[in-house]
């Protein structure tokens, strides 16, 4: 942020707190644009939060005001005006549609091709569904089953009220409020998100998905997710969905924190398909996400992501391997087409002895897009016999797209072993011709080749997700070879 701009924000912040004071009308449904202490107090009051959480938010706000928007990513976009955004709007249900006929036909076509069932399409598009078929009833029985095992899975707001000790203990423990510009912003103004706790020794019997969370009233642009896997437990968590998601909010800055205590395992899978903007890149979502997990002794965290959406993606799901013998994994497919830009990768911070990490990143660039892998592998002095293997591949679909790799390796222990492999290739005309000559049409040929390229990562996704993600890749890249 330029000096002037920073001043402007500071000024606005100090002035606004006077302008609105502490008397912002608690009955209003929408906060005025801008970010100030009074706005944060307003949000916290609206959500009837305990004092400690308000203090925590305010600390984040103070930190944010002194921070600058990062300029180091390989991204070029019009920076958002943070004082023009309204940071609170009462959760409101989307306009109910009477039938799928009212849904944008383009969107429907894509969903049909992804193989999303009609009921599911209705749910996603907010079409009123038959009560018996309503996902709410499914979710209720689902929740009962989890309850029997002592698993907590609810919205963040609910967790703050029902399980304050857990939230207070772990919130901000992996991503501190001062961590970075966007996480500080999120900490100050987050309105909701998901909370999940798995008790010691419990293996969560099903994939946890936000789909099944009952109070799904638009978690908004500043989502907060906290997953705690207690000693010896296991959970697989799914985020996002393959269906194209449109959102009126251009800026999204989510924070996800994972805590894997001794011998626990968390598998976190994401399919991100936010609106990428039109072919010229106009109107797409900016996605600035901070995701990080901490592994205690013998714990394992595995991040798998398939990123096809958003105009701008800034995202580095990371692992702090604090405990001895802990394991971190990152598997990623990032697709950019048209004018999309992605700067994504991971950080593996090795602290414990015998820790190991694996990074497999597959970038696919089409159109005039830019796709960057940025990763850090850090072996701290305490990380005896730590190991890392990284593989970063880039596939170019067009000669107008760009692929970039920024690997950072920092080794401070002589017993550590770090391996890095990287390749960049252009989709081969020869491969396409070979498929065509066997009677496979061009669209299917590209789909075969791209999915073959990304297979190692797609295989890490839970089964159903993988099937949809495979189709999603093909659809995202339609007609993009050149």
């Amino acid at each position: 942020m330029a000096y002037d701009k920073k001043n402007e924000v500071l000024e606005a912040w100090t002035q606004q707190s006077y302008a609105y004071g502490f008397s912002t009308d608690i009955e209003t449904d929408k906060a005025p644009p801008g970010l100030s202490e009074s706005i944060v107090r307003f949000i916290s009051a609206k959500k009837e939060e305990p004092e400690w959480l308000l203090e925590w938010r305010l600390e984040a706000l103070r930190a944010w005001v002194g921070m600058e928007e990062p300029v180091w990513p390989h991204l070029d976009y019009k920076h958002p005006d943070f004082q023009a955004i309204s940071y609170y709007a009462a959760p409101k249900s989307r306009p109910k549609l009477n039938s799928l006929d009212e849904v944008d036909p383009e969107l429907r076509k894509t969903m049909d091709r992804l193989g999303i069932s009609l009921e599911e399409q209705k749910r996603l598009q907010g079409v009123a569904v038959d009560f018996v078929m309503d996902s709410v009833s499914v979710a209720t029985s689902f929740k009962e089953k989890l309850g029997e095992l002592g698993i907590i899975f609810c919205s963040m707001s609910e967790a703050v009220k029902e399980h304050p000790d857990l939230v207070r203990k772990y919130l901000g423990s992996v991503v501190p409020v001062r961590d970075n510009f966007y996480s500080a912003l999120n900490s100050a103004v987050f309105t909701d998100g998901s909370f999940c706790y798995i008790p010691p020794g419990v293996r969560c019997p099903m994939e946890l998905s936000t789909y099944f969370r009952i109070n799904e009233a638009g978690t908004g642009q500043f989502e907060r997710t906290l997953v705690v896997a207690d000693r010896g437990s296991y959970v697989s968590y799914l985020e996002g969905c393959t269906a194209p998601q449109r959102d009126e909010n251009q800026l999204h800055a989510a924070v996800v924190e994972l805590i894997a205590l001794d011998d626990a395992e968390i598998k976190y899978s994401t399919v991100q398909n936010w609106y990428p903007g039109d072919a010229e890149g106009k109107g797409g979502v900016f996605n600035f996400v901070t995701k990080r997990g901490i592994c205690h002794d013998r714990a394992k965290i595995s991040w798998t992501q398939v990123e096809t959406g958003s105009a701008v993606t800034w995202k580095y799901p990371s692992c702090i391997l604090k405990g001895d013998d802990s394991v971190g994994e990152f598997y990623s497919v990032a697709v950019t087409n048209h004018m999309q830009q992605a700067d994504t990768g991971t950080k593996m911070i090795h602290l414990g002895k015998n820790t190991s990490s694996t990074i497999v990143s597959k970038g696919i660039s089409a159109g005039r897009s830019h796709n960057s892998y940025r990763g850090l592998v850090q072996m701290m002095p305490s990380a005896e016999n730590a190991r890392n293997f990284s593989q970063c591949d880039s596939l170019l679909m067009t000669s107008t797209s760009g692929a970039h790799t920024f690997p950072y390796i920092d080794v401070r222990n002589p017993t550590a072993r770090v391996e890095h492999e990287a390749t960049t290739s252009k989709i081969a005309e020869d491969q396409i011709f070979y498929c065509l000559q066997r009677g496979i049409d061009e669209e299917q040929a590209i789909s075969l080749i791209v999915n073959g390229y990304a297979k190692e990562v797609l295989n890490k996704l839970p089964m159903e997700f993988a099937v949809e993600a495979t189709k999603l890749l093909s659809i995202s890249l339609e007609g993009s070879v050149g």
Partner: protein, 249 residues
């Protein structure tokens, strides 16, 4: 089956085929021989429809249709198969998925339902045995990590699966040892039938000991300059191409 009349083709500004004529009746095997750079592989590429080549004149009739009017995929689906000189590797794509997509593409073109899983596997079992391609190779990615001989056997296996009307073998013998050459040739011979034709492109007479042709043509500087029975291949082996070059010039 295949009737080529006055075919001219070029790559960039460089004309390679200069009025080629060739007629292959159904059920026959024709061999094309010729020195390096005479246009043999270009002919295979033009027939298969590779974009780099531009056809500037001539006509190609393939079993009653104008071949040059068809897209690459439709040429394949209509029954034209090219066994590549250098088969392409496609990492991460299983041989089985690839073949099934190919077979179903052809079936769709013919107005048939996609092949059932069981019928497909039975066909794979039967046809892979023709070229002694073991299970390990069938389940790997397309040509990835295959030896030269394995790649060529895989080409013939694909041909056996797709049952083309016309198969073009582009220097299928290159890089093969004697055993692999025999296996590949046996696979081809097994496919010979009254309604299937072959165009065998080769440098060496050796292959034609195994796959005995009905006719042999000599391609030189973009045109067929000599045609004859299978004995012509022996003559070429003995005398080389010089006498033909001299006669043409």
């Amino acid at each position: 089956m295949l009737n080529i009349t006055n075919l001219h083709a070029r790559i960039g500004e460089h004309e390679i085929l200069k009025g080629l004529n060739l007629h292959i009746p159904p059920g026959e095997v024709h061999a094309i021989m010729g020195p390096n750079g005479s246009g043999k592989s270009t002919l295979a590429s033009v027939l298969a429809g590779r974009e780099d080549y531009e056809v500037t004149a001539g006509a190609v009739d393939f079993d009653g249709v104008d071949l040059l009017e068809l897209e690459v995929t439709d040429r394949a689906r209509a029954g034209l198969f090219l066994a590549f000189q250098y088969p392409v590797e496609i990492p991460g794509v299983s041989n089985m998925n690839f073949l099934r997509a190919a077979l179903n593409g052809k079936r769709e073109y013919q107005g048939l339902e996609p092949i059932g899983g069981r019928a497909f596997l039975e066909l794979v079992q039967e046809r892979s045995a023709w070229v002694q391609l073991d299970g390990r190779l069938k389940n790997r990615s397309v040509n990835e990590g295959f030896s030269g001989g394995e790649k060529k056997r895989n080409e013939i296996f694909q041909m056996a699966m797709l049952e083309p009307k016309l198969a073009i073998l582009d220097e299928t013998d290159s890089g093969l040892d004697i055993d692999a050459l025999r296996i590949v040739s046996e696979g081809v011979n097994r496919m010979r039938s009254a309604d299937r034709s072959f165009l065998v492109i080769t440098h060496y007479q050796r292959l034609l000991d195994y796959i005995v042709p009905d006719r042999v043509h000599v391609l030189f500087d973009g045109v067929i300059v000599e045609s004859g029975p299978k004995e012509l291949a022996l003559e070429l082996e003995e005398k080389g191409y010089d006498w033909i070059k001299e006669r043409v010039q």
